[in-house]
């Protein structure tokens, strides 16, 4: 094995008006180190993405008081932290570091962020002049993917709603979750339409918070107290508009998943638990298809009737309540996806949602806008 995830921490805050973003990064670092049973002096690699304030790792290594010999600030939006795990494993295998710290934190809730606001990636973004005039926000760039999926495959709003229903069933057991009430398909359909065909309850929450991971070499992981969680396979991919040959029916996950499954030498049917970035219900449906859990176009039927609910469904997903119910720190879902997958493999998920004898789990994320340009990352983890 190349590397192990030895430490995890999810910040319990969901609204942090009295803290700074950098402070949240420090708090999640401390949490993950304590979870691993390591100290800051052990950290010799640091990973962060666009949520890190200032000049990325330069500001954060200085602020946190780290002394590292390897840094990585790969930025692929919400999928960044899954990519970071892959890069950390590669850096460890190459001898560039022994203990890698990955942090994420943000306060979009305190700062008034909303998915209905147009996104701005700067005047030099090559697409800006051709797209900004049309009001691409976050929610409508995912909504168009849902609209096309419905047109091509007959997917329904009721089927999408089942994804939220499953997440809410899990969130009931998470005392930190922002939304803890179980909802029904009717509740989702009765919630206000935000951007056709996505209702309010098809959308994730906006929350403050953060999370951190410690990735280390197997010899070090074995010396620690926590159950060993091995990195078995990883994949990353980017999909855009292909010069105007736009096809919204699949995501970059089709490519990242193929790489991760090949490296791990397992197949979708072997996976016992999945963490799937749920920025919107359609995001989950698209990833499940592209990961190969069902055929392209069958996602609606696959998620319906509680199939994603732990204990009763065939494929338990997001047992912490996910972004749809629990939290969505920094508007980036990749970090919490890895954390809950590790909890499942350690047997540390809430007993009501813990998958029995969970030995193989998958975390998948997308970043950016599913409807225009996005990055996907796939991570397959196994209990030793």
């Amino acid at each position: 094995m190349k590397a192990c995830i030895a430490g995890i921490y999810e910040h319990p805050t969901r609204k942090a008006p009295d803290k700074s973003v950098a402070q949240l990064h420090a708090e999640v670092m401390n949490g993950a180190l304590a979870d691993a049973g390591l100290s800051k002096k052990d950290v010799d690699g640091y990973f962060c993405a666009g949520d890190a304030p200032g000049l990325g790792p330069l500001s954060m290594v200085d602020y946190l008081g780290l002394k590292v010999r390897h840094v990585d600030s790969t930025e692929t939006g919400g999928s960044s932290y899954i990519v970071h795990v892959a890069h950390a494993a590669a850096a460890i295998a190459a001898g560039h570091c022994n203990v890698a710290l990955i942090t994420l934190a943000g306060r979009p809730r305190s700062e008034g962020s909303s998915g209905t606001q147009p996104r701005n990636y700067g005047a030099n973004a090559p697409d800006a002049a051709f797209e900004a005039p049309y009001g691409p926000a976050t929610v409508n760039m995912y909504a168009m993917v849902a609209m096309r999926h419905m047109h091509e495959f007959g997917t329904t709003s009721e089927q999408l709603a089942w994804i939220k229903v499953a997440a809410s069933h899990h969130a009931q057991h998470n005392p930190h979750a922002m939304l803890r009430d179980a909802v029904t398909v009717k509740d989702v359909l009765d919630s206000p339409m935000i951007a056709d065909p996505l209702h309010r309850l098809d959308c994730c929450v906006v929350s403050d918070g953060g999370g951190a991971l410690i990735v280390t070499r197997p010899e070090i992981a074995k010396s620690l107290k926590k159950p060993i969680v091995n990195v078995l396979g990883t994949g990353a991919a980017v999909k855009g508009q292909d010069g105007g040959r736009i096809d919204l029916t699949y995501s970059a996950t089709a490519w990242s998943a193929a790489a991760a499954f090949a490296e791990a030498k397992v197949k979708p049917a072997d996976i016992q638990y999945v963490s799937i970035y749920d920025s919107f219900t359609i995001t989950v449906l698209m990833q499940l298809e592209d990961l190969g859990f069902c055929k392209k176009g069958d996602g609606g039927r696959f998620v319906a009737d509680g199939n994603l609910i732990s204990g009763s469904g065939k494929l338990p997903f997001n047992t912490d309540g996910g972004g749809l119910c629990n939290n969505h720190p920094a508007n980036r879902g990749g970090m919490t996806k890895v954390i809950e997958a590790v909890r499942q493999l350690r047997g540390e998920a809430h007993p009501a949602v813990q998958v029995k004898n969970c030995g193989l789990a998958l975390a998948n994320g997308t970043g950016g806008q599913l409807g225009s340009r996005h990055g996907s990352a796939t991570l397959i983890l196994g209990r030793a």
Partner: protein, 120 residues
């Protein structure tokens, strides 16, 4: 304000004159959108051609929870490329995928004219 720069200026100059430009590669002849100086397919040099301005709706979404609801859409042009745009001068509730549309030019914030589409 639209961030007009040296690379994209010809597109907005043409739009002001009612022409909707697509990128065309001088090496491989393939069309692309949005137009750019280097072909996204073969990395060759490019020029532009004016689109006929006709196409059909590939996907759309009406943003409801804002002060002024609007329809964002991808339109597949008769030339074969698909472009991000708005659907305008129509009742948002009547929009359908595959509906035929034609280009109209509307002022964006800051005064530049940009191509949008309306039912044909």
């Amino acid at each position: 304000m639209i961030p007009v720069n040296a690379e994209n200026k010809p597109f907005f100059d043409a739009a002001r004159e009612g022409r909707f430009l697509l990128g065309r590669c001088k090496a491989c002849n393939q069309l692309h959108y949005y137009p750019r100086a280097v072909c996204p397919f073969c990395s060759g040099p490019t020029d532009t051609i004016a689109a006929k301005g006709r196409g059909k709706v590939y996907a759309y979404s009406v943003m409801r929870r804002v002060a002024k609801p609007y329809a964002i859409a991808y339109v597949t042009l008769d030339e074969g490329v698909t472009v991000l745009t708005n659907l305008v001068d129509c009742d948002p509730d009547t929009i359908r995928i595959d509906a035929p549309v034609r280009v109209v030019f509307k002022p964006a914030e800051g005064g530049e004219m940009v191509p949008m589409f309306t039912p044909a």
